[in-house]
Each structure stands twice: as structure tokens, then as C-alpha cells.
């Protein structure tokens, strides 16, 4: 009997990892298909993000810094989509810039798709400034003289001829910057932006915990944490986006992970008890 019980925990501990991968895959598929809808509890940072966006007036100028490549599409795309919808719904002018090569085309295509829905016209209501290798000097250049720094938009039109940039001389004439990013770009925005430019932050969840110090000091005025943050924001906007579709998969994979950690520790404990006995 003795060897039988130990071998069960041993077998469990040395289970082939491919069974675990299958368990995770099946768990996500099941809970994605489940028509269960749990209302999101809107967290403080998301509420502050929404309020800051609601305070925007039609015609205000906003910079969207989209720096995510396809590797974090599942977290950043829902955020960018929700943010652009809110900007277009409030008739706010916006320009996009990217410091990641892929982000340039991903954000351009997403904005073009949404612009059709809201009747936004390229050049008149929004524009894309293309790719920059160095974010810090790009911010410093735009803070001093936007036209001389950017020179021309993605389509090659000189910025002075873009109707959307009416009355805009530099980044100081912008009201807000929204940084949708998987990497550490928000500290650069915090450090080099003009004094009164409001910073809103859409990080992948990995980067969220570090930003609570900036929320406490007010250096950023709102944050959407990954796809979960997008889900809460979509609920506030009354939109069913990717965040809402992913949330069941996210929360029940958390349950699976927690159970796994507990079972792992239990198996080790039982094995040690069995050895002592």
C-alpha cells in the first residue's frame, strides 16, 4: 500500500507537461464559448481614465502613441479600439505616432477601419505621423516645433497643409496623450512632455503594477490594464468589444492557475509526508 500511494503523488508531480498544455487549451475554449456574462466591477484607474476622456471637448487635440506589435495584439488592440471609438464619438481631433515598426501599420489600418464607421475623414479629423526610432527626441522635438519635427504625415503631405492641424504649432497645443504600449514608453512621455499635457496609459498587464506609483503621484491620470481594463472600459462605453469577449477566458484561466499551484504544493507536501512515514 505504501508504494501505491506515493507513486500516485509521484506520477502527478512528474506528469508529462503536454497534458497540462491540453488542460489549459480546453479550459480556455470551454469558457470562451460559455454564454456567461459577469458584469465588470469598474476599477479606480479605469474610472479616472473614462472621466478624463469625458472632459474632452469637440475639436480638442489628442496624440495617440501606439507602440504595440502583433505580439501583444490580444491586450493592446482592444484598448486602442475602445479609445479610438471614444475619441471619435466625442468628435475629438487626434494624431497617431509609433516608435515600433509594426505598430505603424497596425494602428493605421485599425484607425482607417473605425474612421469609416464614425465618418471621420483622414487629414481633416485625424492623421498618422508614422514611425520614429527614438521616442525621447521625438517628444522633445514636437514640444518645441511640431511641423519642423514631423515634417510630413504617413501619406507624405506636409503637416502645415493638414486641416486637422489647424492652429497647432507644437505639442503644447495638444490636450492629452494616450500611450497604448507593451513596453516602457510611458516614463518617456511623463519625463519629456509639455507641462499641461495629460497622460493616459494603456499598458499590457505586465507593465501595470509598476504604474501605480505614477497614478498615486498624478503623473498619469488613468490606466486600462490589458484586455481586462479594455473590458471594463467597453462596459462604460456600452460597446461589446474584444475585451468583453476575452474576459471569461481570462478569469477562468486564473482559477485554473491558482488550483494548479495549490495542487503542486499539495503533491509535494503529501510526498514528503509519505517519505517521513
Amino acid at each position: 500500500m505504501q508504494t501505491e500511494r506515493k507513486s500516485f503523488w509521484d506520477r502527478l508531480l512528474t506528469i508529462d507537461r503536454r497534458w497540462l498544455y491540453l488542460a489549459l487549451f480546453v479550459n480556455i475554449v470551454v469558457f470562451l464559448l460559455l454564454p456567461l456574462r459577469l458584469p465588470a466591477v469598474v476599477s479606480g484607474p479605469v474610472r479616472k481614465f473614462y472621466n478624463a476622456m469625458e472632459r474632452l471637448q469637440p475639436g480638442d487635440m489628442v496624440m495617440v502613441s501606439s507602440n504595440w506589435s502583433a505580439s501583444t495584439i490580444a491586450e493592446n488592440q482592444p484598448q486602442l479600439e475602445a479609445v479610438l471609438r471614444h475619441l471619435m464619438r466625442k468628435k475629438v481631433r487626434f494624431t497617431i505616432m509609433s516608435v515600433e515598426a509594426q505598430a505603424r501599420d497596425l494602428s493605421l489600418r485599425l484607425a482607417q477601419r473605425l474612421a469609416k464607421e464614425y465618418g471621420y475623414e483622414y487629414g481633416r479629423d485625424w492623421a498618422h505621423f508614422g514611425f520614429y526610432t527614438d521616442l525621447i527626441v521625438a517628444i522633445k522635438g514636437m514640444t518645441n516645433d511640431l511641423h519642423d519635427t514631423v515634417k510630413q504625415d504617413v501619406k507624405g503631405t506636409p503637416t502645415r497643409e493638414l486641416p486637422v492641424l489647424q492652429g497647432i504649432q507644437s505639442l503644447k497645443d495638444y490636450k492629452m496623450v494616450i500611450d497604448v504600449t507593451p513596453s516602457g514608453t510611458v516614463p518617456d512621455w511623463i519625463s519629456y512632455r509639455p507641462k499641461n499635457l495629460i497622460v493616459l496609459y494603456c499598458p499590457t498587464s505586465v507593465m501595470a503594477a509598476e504604474a501605480y506609483t505614477f497614478l498615486d503621484s498624478g503623473q498619469i491620470e488613468g490606466m486600462l490594464t490589458g484586455a481586462k481594463g479594455a473590458q471594463e472600459y467597453e462596459q462604460l462605453l456600452g460597446v461589446v468589444g474584444l475585451g468583453t469577449r476575452f474576459i471569461n477566458g481570462i478569469q477562468f484561466s486564473h482559477v485554473l492557475i491558482i488550483l494548479t499551484i495549490l495542487v503542486g504544493n499539495l503533491a509535494l507536501l503529501m510526498k514528503r509526508l509519505a517519505q517521513e512515514a
Partner: protein
């Protein structure tokens, strides 16, 4: 039968989705074990990624900031690319050191820019820390007891973790206890990071499975 019509890769959109699915399954095949199918698509990925970056690099930067001004007669921009190409001597045995002149230029510029970052990123955090009253006085009439408690917790946690990260004096007695507690508090911050990181990685996988279920198989997914 018409759902088969919609499912098979007959028009360009469906062909695109099928290519995406083949790519996804090829990458996931490594979970079973390393195989030539995976290795082919991994090298395809690295080649495509490297090739793609040349577009934005050339058109949005080199063309816009060097070629276009030269075409407009601004001759003084001419030396930027020739001297910038020193970087490409890095692999050369004899002249390799020449690339370090330009690398030095980049390092020097980022060092010079750091002073503004230090003032704008860290000092406002210092300021917001000390603007946390520790008990209710008439100087701060609108303070509430819960705010005071949170301020005490905030400052104790901050100072304990800061003490943990000091190295130029021996940690003995009270300082040792503060530093040990500081490392426990650090674990709370790390736990918060851990929880969020797990959520991030799960979301990326969920995005892929959503693509397989919804875009490929056409099954309505999630959101109830």
C-alpha cells in the same frame, strides 16, 4: 452545404484566415516537440520581421529626414548618413573601433537627456510622497482618519523597501529588522506584478484561441 462554401479558402479573405491558422498551428507544434514544420515557420517569421522593419525605417526616417531635404536643396544634412554608416564597421576587425564613435554619440545624447527625465519622473514622485500628512491638524482640515492610516502605511512601506536597497553600511540590529521587513513588503509588490503578468500571458493565448474559434471556425464567442 453553403457553410462549407464559406468555410473553405475560396476567396482571398478566407485564404488569408487559413494562412493565419496554418502559421498558428505550426508555431504551436513546438509544444508537442521540436519539429521541421515549426523550424520552417520560425525562420519565416524572423525573415519577415527583419524585412518588414526596413519599410518604416527607410521611408519614415531616412527618406523623410535625409533624402527629402537633400532633394529640396538643404545640403547641410548630407554628412549625417555617411558618418552614421560608421556603425556598420562594428563587425570589422581592424576598423571596428570606428563604430564606437557613433555609439558614443548615441550614449552621450541619452546620458545628457537623462537629467530632464530625473527631474520630471522621480522628483514629482518624491514630492507626492512627502505631501502625505501623518495626522489631522488644522493645516489640513479635510484629512480623514482612513487617509492618515493609508499615509502611514505608504511611508513605512516605502522607507522599509528603500532601506533594503542600501549597501554601503552593515545591516545590524534595528536596521537589519527594517531591511528584512522591507524584503517582505517587496514580495507584496512582486506578487502584484506576478498576478498581472499571468493575466497578460493568458490574454495573449486567449487572443489566439479566439482567432481560431471565431475567425476560422465562425463560432460566436464570448461576451454572452
Amino acid at each position: 452545404m453553403d457553410w462549407l462554401q464559406q468555410f473553405l479558402p475560396l476567396n482571398e479573405g478566407r485564404l488569408g484566415v487559413w494562412i493565419g491558422v496554418v502559421c498558428t498551428l505550426a508555431i504551436y507544434s513546438i509544444l508537442y516537440r521540436e519539429n521541421p514544420f515549426y523550424r520552417f515557420f520560425e525562420h519565416l517569421y524572423i525573415g519577415l520581421a527583419a524585412g518588414y522593419s526596413l519599410g518604416p525605417l527607410f521611408a519614415d526616417i531616412i527618406y523623410k529626414y535625409w533624402v527629402d531635404p537633400l532633394l529640396k536643396g538643404e545640403w547641410y544634412w548630407a554628412p549625417v548618413v555617411p558618418f552614421g554608416l560608421y556603425l556598420y564597421f562594428i563587425y570589422n576587425e581592424r576598423y571596428g573601433w570606428v563604430s564606437r564613435i557613433i555609439i558614443g554619440l548615441l550614449i552621450g545624447a541619452s546620458a545628457g537627456l537623462f537629467f530632464q527625465a530625473f527631474s520630471s519622473r522621480y522628483l514629482p514622485q518624491l514630492n507626492s510622497t512627502l505631501a502625505k500628512p501623518l495626522w489631522i491638524t488644522d493645516a489640513n482640515p479635510d484629512m480623514v482618519i482612513s487617509g492618515v492610516i493609508n499615509n502611514w502605511i505608504f511611508i513605512i512601506f516605502l522607507l522599509a523597501v528603500l532601506t533594503y536597497f542600501t549597501f554601503s553600511f552593515e545591516h545590524r540590529g534595528a536596521v537589519k529588522r527594517v531591511a528584512t521587513v522591507g524584503r517582505w513588503f517587496l514580495m507584496i509588490g512582486l506578487g502584484a506584478m506576478f498576478g498581472n503578468t499571468v493575466m497578460a500571458r493568458m490574454a495573449l493565448l486567449i487572443g489566439r484561441i479566439y482567432y481560431l474559434l471565431s475567425d476560422w471556425l465562425g463560432i460566436p464567442v464570448g461576451g454572452g
